[in-house]
């Protein structure tokens, strides 16, 4: 991994805003390694985000970058992709951004199967606003708005994506950068809507109140909550209970929105006489 990150970074925007130990930077680097592998022209790549700590990512990246409103990145990204399908559109979002306020856009982007890659920086908490519970906060875990522990059930980002129609769905841990790189590359290569549920530790607002220790302790906790999907067949139901599989969880082939629109144009456009 001897690539030069700075060819894709806006050096003058450093240092970034993230806390020491935050997982978001690890995911950002993984995205850059994936893009380096794909060798897309930087001018043809658009990175779109909503609002949150994770959504600050585009500001550091030397591509066409758009920092939108909270939860709405997929709507803006859809407009960009449909208007100019030649652009490679990547959306970065937090678990609050993508699954709470942006939940409706999330399921509809999946349904349309539009060729966009969504990376959810999932840290089970609202980081930017100071640690309130999010739709992926595990039941019983604390946030500033769940001081006695969350009583709600969390969303499973990947199950949602699959059920709504996304054609590439994967879960990755920032602990395993090699796997994350591979999954993000696969997501970006998919001719349809791709979702990567990228787990990230919020040391400040999830680690502390839940007594999960520092960044490396948190990674161990997350590791203990997950298993490699390739080992799924060899594991018993008890071993898998309450745990989340990691790896490629779903792949399918379905018509892609922009390609279908092009066909529609072909079909209805008046023939030149």
């Amino acid at each position: 991994m001897s690539m030069d990150y700075f060819q894709y970074l806006r050096k003058e925007k450093m240092p970034h805003i993230w806390c020491p130990g935050c997982g978001h930077g690890t995911i950002m680097k993984s995205i850059l390694r994936a893009l380096d592998k794909l060798k897309w022209n930087q001018d043809d790549v658009v990175v779109v985000s909503g609002i949150g700590c994770s959504s600050r990512t585009p500001g550091y990246l030397d591509f066409n970058t758009l920092h939108t409103t909270h939860g709405r990145a997929l709507a803006f990204a859809t407009g960009i992709k449909v208007a100019n399908p030649k652009l490679h559109v990547i959306v970065v979002s937090g678990d609050g951004d993508a699954m709470a306020i942006g939940g409706n856009h999330f399921i509809h982007a999946c349904r349309r199967n539009i060729e966009i890659t969504l990376i959810v920086f999932n840290n089970n908490i609202y980081g930017m606003t100071g640690g309130q519970a999010s739709p992926t906060t595990f039941t019983g875990f604390k946030g500033t708005t769940a001081p006695y522990g969350a009583i709600e059930q969390p969303f499973n980002v990947c199950s949602m994506a699959q059920a709504a129609g996304a054609t590439f769905v994967a879960r990755a841990l920032d602990l395993d950068a090699v796997a994350m790189d591979r999954l993000i590359v696969q997501a970006m290569q998919n001719k349809g809507f791709s979702v990567v549920d990228a787990w990230s530790q919020c040391t400040t607002y999830f680690g502390r109140p839940n007594k999960w220790g520092d960044a490396s302790d948190m990674m161990e906790h997350y590791k203990a909550l997950t298993y490699n999907v390739r080992l799924s067949d060899k594991m018993t139901e008890e071993e898998k209970a309450g745990k989340y599989p990691v790896g490629v969880l779903h792949q399918a082939t379905r018509p892609e929105f922009c390609a279908e629109y092009d066909k529609l144009i072909e079909r209805v456009r008046p023939v030149e006489k």
Partner: protein, 384 residues
């Protein structure tokens, strides 16, 4: 299959306001539409979904109005002229992203076919109750351009003007149509393409190796705009930002950004003001009316003149920015001013502010889903 898409312009048609709006958008070069169904605006989306693919353009029905607004901003950044159409409740949902477009200076057009509100209100009745929302709908100090047409031909022309103003000023522009104008049918001659003046966003002229500053404005206060994918790789945010487009916490940068966003409208005001004077030269009683209400008002003015009362009509087509000087001029001889509108006095507030303690100002207001008849306005003109 009819050949609407290839029909030469210059043809005579019998159209509703919503249909004329679609024709105007197409003539203006709109090739991207995102929307969500809502009465009384849905025909615009329906017509666009039929026409756009035939021209190689794109139509997308989004999951809600928030998404529709986001999509037209994204598509505009990718280089298209873009539009959405909605009505009261949908217009409310669009406000946050509308503010984003103002802040990030992304041209786009929003058609708001006004219906009674608040809330679900009167979905099919005419109303002009979103006038102040057109001005102050989103949070924060912000620029606003909003037009309101009275006739079907004017719907076509103002829709074209909305696109031109959006491109010229790098800001969203709202067309506030009332339901009567949207659904009424009139004969309209669609102008030849050569007769329609179009404005396109100004591109930067860069020397080799020169950096593009997406928010650096020259004297005209409107920064030239490069589209995503054209090689500049810049950043766009709704946060307070400097000329590079990146967030800035510097007080003087924030202050100058917010002032420029308003000043650019002020600076180009004369080009944005569309209005009509009707017998205002010697008017002792002035009516200020817009949209379909102005049609009733014109009739009332004629009837008052027939009775020997010197009445006149000033009709702002551009509601915002307000044609202040023109309203003052029209009211130069007025003892009384009548402001009829299908709301409880939203534009009257503006007229009162402009004319101050001069003439007596009265409103003729209806919020019952019925148009304002000329007789009501005539009574107000005559002072009975």
């Amino acid at each position: 299959m009819s050949d609407e898409a290839t029909k030469p312009s210059g043809t005579v048609k019998f159209l509703s306001g919503n249909e004329a709006c679609m024709e105007g958008a197409i003539a203006a070069g709109c090739r991207f539409f995102a929307g969500y169904p809502i009465s009384p605006s849905s025909e615009i989306a329906e017509k666009m979904s039929g026409r756009l693919p035939r021209l190689g353009g794109k139509f997308i029905q989004m999951e809600d109005e928030i998404a529709s607004m986001g999509a037209i901003i994204g598509a505009s950044l990718a280089g298209q002229k873009t539009m959405t159409a909605t009505s009261g409740p949908g217009f409310s949902l669009m406000q946050e992203n509308l503010g984003f477009a103002m802040m990030a200076e992304i041209p786009c057009v929003v058609i708001n076919v006004m219906r009674g509100g608040p809330s679900t209100g009167n979905p099919t009745g005419p109303s002009q109750s979103d006038v102040q929302q057109c001005r102050w709908g989103t949070h924060g100090d912000h620029p606003a351009i909003a037009l309101s047409p009275s006739t079907i031909r004017e719907v076509f022309d103002t829709t074209v003007a909305c696109f031109n103003f959006a491109e010229m000023m790098r800001t969203p522009v709202v067309l506030a149509m009332d339901e009567i104008t949207a659904h009424m049918r009139e004969k309209i001659i669609i102008p030849q393409a050569a007769e329609i003046a179009l404005v396109n966003r100004r591109k930067p002229v860069l020397q080799a190796g020169e950096t593009y500053y997406p928010y650096e404005a020259g004297e005209d206060l409107v920064p030239p705009m490069m589209n995503f994918g054209e090689g500049a790789r810049y950043h766009v945010t709704g946060l307070d930002h400097d000329r590079t487009g990146f967030p800035s916490a510097a007080a003087e940068i924030q202050e100058s950004l917010h002032r420029r966003l308003l000043d650019k409208i002020e600076k180009h005001q004369e080009k944005l003001l569309l209005f009509e004077h009707h017998r205002t030269e010697d008017a002792e009683v002035l009516v200020v009316a817009y949209g379909s209400t102005a049609r009733s008002a014109k009739r009332a003015v004629e009837e008052a003149r027939a009775k020997g009362v010197k009445a006149g009509l000033f009709r702002p087509i551009t509601l915002y920015p307000i044609p202040e000087k023109q309203i003052e001029a029209a009211a130069a001889h007025a003892r009384r001013v009548v402001v009829p509108e299908m709301n409880l006095g939203q534009y009257k507030l503006e007229v009162e502010r402009i004319l101050g303690k001069g003439p007596t100002i009265t409103g003729v207001n209806r919020v019952n889903g019925e148009p304002i008849a000329p007789s009501l306005i005539l009574s107000a003109i005559l002072g009975d």
